[in-house]
Symmetry: C2
Subunit: 279 residues, 2 copies
Amino acid sequence: METVSTAKAFGGTQGVYRDASAATGTDMTFAVYVPDHAPGAKLPVVWYLSGLTCTHANVMDKGEYRRACAELGLIFVAPDTSPRGDGVPDDAEAAYDFGLGAGFYVDATQEPFAKNYRMWSYVTEELPALLAAEFPVDTARQSILGHSMGGHGALTIGLTYPDRYKAVSAFAPIVAPSEVPWGQKALPGYLGEDRAAWRKHDAVALIEDGARVADLLVDQGEADNFLAAQLQPERLEKACSDAGIKLTLRRQPGYDHSYFFISTFMADHLGWHAERLRK
Amino acid sequence: METVSTAKAFGGTQGVYRDASAATGTDMTFAVYVPDHAPGAKLPVVWYLSGLTCTHANVMDKGEYRRACAELGLIFVAPDTSPRGDGVPDDAEAAYDFGLGAGFYVDATQEPFAKNYRMWSYVTEELPALLAAEFPVDTARQSILGHSMGGHGALTIGLTYPDRYKAVSAFAPIVAPSEVPWGQKALPGYLGEDRAAWRKHDAVALIEDGARVADLLVDQGEADNFLAAQLQPERLEKACSDAGIKLTLRRQPGYDHSYFFISTFMADHLGWHAERLRK
């Protein structure tokens, strides 16, 4: 693992690191914030999955998570959103919603994406192992959150591994990608036309198929341009209601899809995670 | 005045605006955060001057000021650092420390810069008048802070108008530009070779020449790459000591020159400003 940069912030260390990923066959860059801690201590870790077009840097620059992580003693990890580099295939028209910057947290089965676009394995297996080896992480205390496409990633990963992630939350997540344009482009592109393969990567379908977590926290801006066409939180609301999952869905008047929205509620989410990580 | 963008954040509005500046002869872009407030209320305003290479956007994205401003009821204004646009002259070699992005908050007298590089007039006269006309600003309660070159701007402006700015603080400021390479390039470039003209744009010289404020707050990272060659806070320490100005200079171990440093201590500065703006 190569250290790209480190800087002291809120008493801890904000680092950027790079490692050759076996999962994606590329170098992958990621950001880790480690708060000040007692020597030898192992800290809980919060995974943050970013949205379309983002890298590790967007939330690092604009997410305003460090103060809360320092106060609560949380490590905060922000992976990239797709493989990148020479030879990594992109969307045919280089659109923002597929290919580079748009990995959708799946292991692609379709060519030419199957070789590199293995973000599910990278985020759920490879990077956790690297974190555990290189950082003072208590692997028994992990949680996950994300934004938009990364909210989709956080929900689907959290629902798949409810014992591993003690808390799951999202900002403006894609909750039912099978039913909306972003997902209806990404899921067949990466996974093929068989919709059965999509259900493991669709939070609402996962819940319909029996996946369970104790509770979920979702913030959704009411002025979000993507709300009606792409996000449709009412689908998650119905699935959780039917399944008996306690969903706290906060519709935030006036807020859009940006980091101005995310940063406003980041500390709330981290506090909610910290409560569940203490158990 | 044109509204470039607005977004809700921490209950208030983060906006970006553009106006044709008479001072610089160019369109100037600036950011304003207005917290939620009672209808008709006028709020105190904090001016933030940015450093070399920055625009209005750096502190808006990375400064983490909105939570504190919302809690304290402060308007936060971030101007650009130089004129920009077709025909605006730049450094001969397009270096980062002179010309575009490096206005040094002076009114240039030297050609070809005298026409556009009038950041002193823009920041101290034109933009305050625009703010007062367009935003709910209590002009009797203003304060100023800045970073690096913008710390220089905040100190020199605050020392020049001690009645107008109720608080003055800085992150890693250039305190004696006449004595360090950045200033020894910028000051003759904009103001000519007569060092007497530089003294009004040198915080230490201003204090030596009799300028006074009640107190100053300065944070300086000890791991700042520019500390020894460009910043030299001990010069400000001596000038304030000699002049009887109460300087709180906090040397912060391990912190660098970046927004990771600034964001860590931003809320401290805003709290310090708010105390003085209540008087």
